[in-house]
Amino acid sequence: MSETTDIDMLRYCRSQTGRHIMLLVRSPSEVINPLLFFLLVVILFPLGLGPDPEQLSVLAPGILWVVALLANLMICMRLFVDDFEDGSLEQLAMARVPLAIAVLPQLVAAWLASGLLLSLVSPLFGLMLGLPMDVTPVLVASLLMGTAIMLLLGAVGSALTVGVQRGGILLALLILPLYVPVLIAGTRALNEALYGGDPYVALALLGAGVTGGLILAPLAIAAGLRVSLEL
């Protein structure tokens, strides 16, 4: 039996990423529903708070970030469920590719379908809430990185609760406290940009979060999946 080489792993990751993207393309509702959720909840805020554009633009960073966080939570709830139920996760755990690496393709696909899309449409929601155009780059950049961190953290919670009946609320309880730093850094970046400050400190911290998360989270995800599979 030959050792798994780096080339094998790369090839594996590429084909698996393709597979997961294909799965998402074939079931577009899973991609579109979180976006619709994002839009609907954003609409609820002006209806609840009143249409005053000045007040809305003050609240916009917080609203956008909290809603992005909730949309992310929805995605994390579904993340491993299908693969757990049809047994592919078990196969994945027994494959020669280390589980911590084997889960990466799915995370990449999930982020492309959620975080990336959400960040790209977020300027539209920013406009609806009266956010000035010139903070749009900061909004998109902070959401791009923030959604990646939240997905990595959420995947840890998802891995731990996938075997539990009705794990959805439990997942929220487990990972929302962990989202706090992301929320703080993300809204801080936006507020600094809005009031003429320096958003780069907060953005750099988000970048550090992505890097640290990419290194540590897969290990925790793999350990969590092993627990859920009772291996």
């Binding site: 794990g167 487990l174 730093p181 850094a185 507020n191 925790a220 969590g224 009772e230």
Partner: protein
């Protein structure tokens, strides 16, 4: 030295150890709790700014200190359980979680009671209060995850992973909340104006902190004994011990 370490992995030995320590620890903790409370509540000098309301510090600060330490006790037990598969560490982790949550709740509630006369509000979004609230939810998460699994061995492994993830995140959460607070600094709060705490107030406080640690250890041992009794209800050593 390793023998001592190994003994802590053996349920009969730990059960006997708890049985031996509790009769000593219980009266000492109760006495220290009474002494510290009376000292702090009656004999420590009155604060010139806050009057007598500051006296809740003798409950509030020790509870807050031990609440955070309790999380690390739990996470350490989780690490031992994950790495060396010591079953007793699972039990210890489960025993620590509700006690830590209770300490955090005490710190939050006494903080609210203290906040009303000094800050004029039950709840203020202060950095430390917010961090404590998040710590409370981290504890609750571990307890809820444990309850969610049918198989308690699996549950313990899941909780161990979660508490380790929490351990990595706690410093980040605390730092970020501090940072968040410095942006939103409300002007109404200027309560740590006085710099150092006077010795006549400090000694009872230190005494209470140590007492709260002792209380944590005591509650943990009682909890551990209870869990061991449930887990090993069928085993010979426990029956022999209980009937002896």
């Amino acid at each position: 030295m390793w023998r001592i370490v190994h003994q802590f992995g053996s349920p009969p030995w730990v059960y006997r150890f708890c049985d031996r320590v509790i009769p000593w620890l219980l009266p000492i903790t109760v006495a220290a709790l009474l002494t510290g409370s009376v000292w702090g509540l009656l004999f420590a000098p009155t604060d010139y700014k806050q009057g007598d309301s500051y006296r809740i510090i003798y409950i509030h600060v020790p509870a807050a200190v031990v609440a955070l330490a309790g999380y690390y006790v739990m996470a350490l037990a989780g690490l031992v359980s994950l790495v060396w598969r010591v079953k007793l560490a699972d039990t210890a982790m489960r025993a620590a979680a509700p006690i830590g949550a209770a300490y955090t709740a005490i710190a939050l509630i006494t903080g609210a009671i203290w906040g009303k006369p000094t800050w004029g509000a039950w709840w203020v979004w202060d950095a430390r209060i917010t961090s404590m609230l998040i710590l409370f939810f981290l504890y609750v998460g571990v307890i809820a995850l444990f309850e969610a699994y049918e198989n308690k061995t699996v549950a313990a492994r899941a909780c161990a992973i979660l508490s380790l993830v929490g351990t990595v995140n706690i410093p980040i959460i605390y730092k970020s909340v501090d940072w968040w607070y410095s942006l939103h600094q409300p002007a109404s709060i200027k309560f740590t104006g006085s710099s150092a705490i006077d010795a006549s107030m400090l000694y009872p406080l230190l005494g209470m902190i140590i007492t709260f640690y002792a209380l944590f250890a005591l509650l943990m041992m009682l909890n551990l004994k209870q869990s061991l009794t449930e887990e090993y209800a069928q085993s010979a050593w426990l029956n022999k011990r209980l009937t002896a």
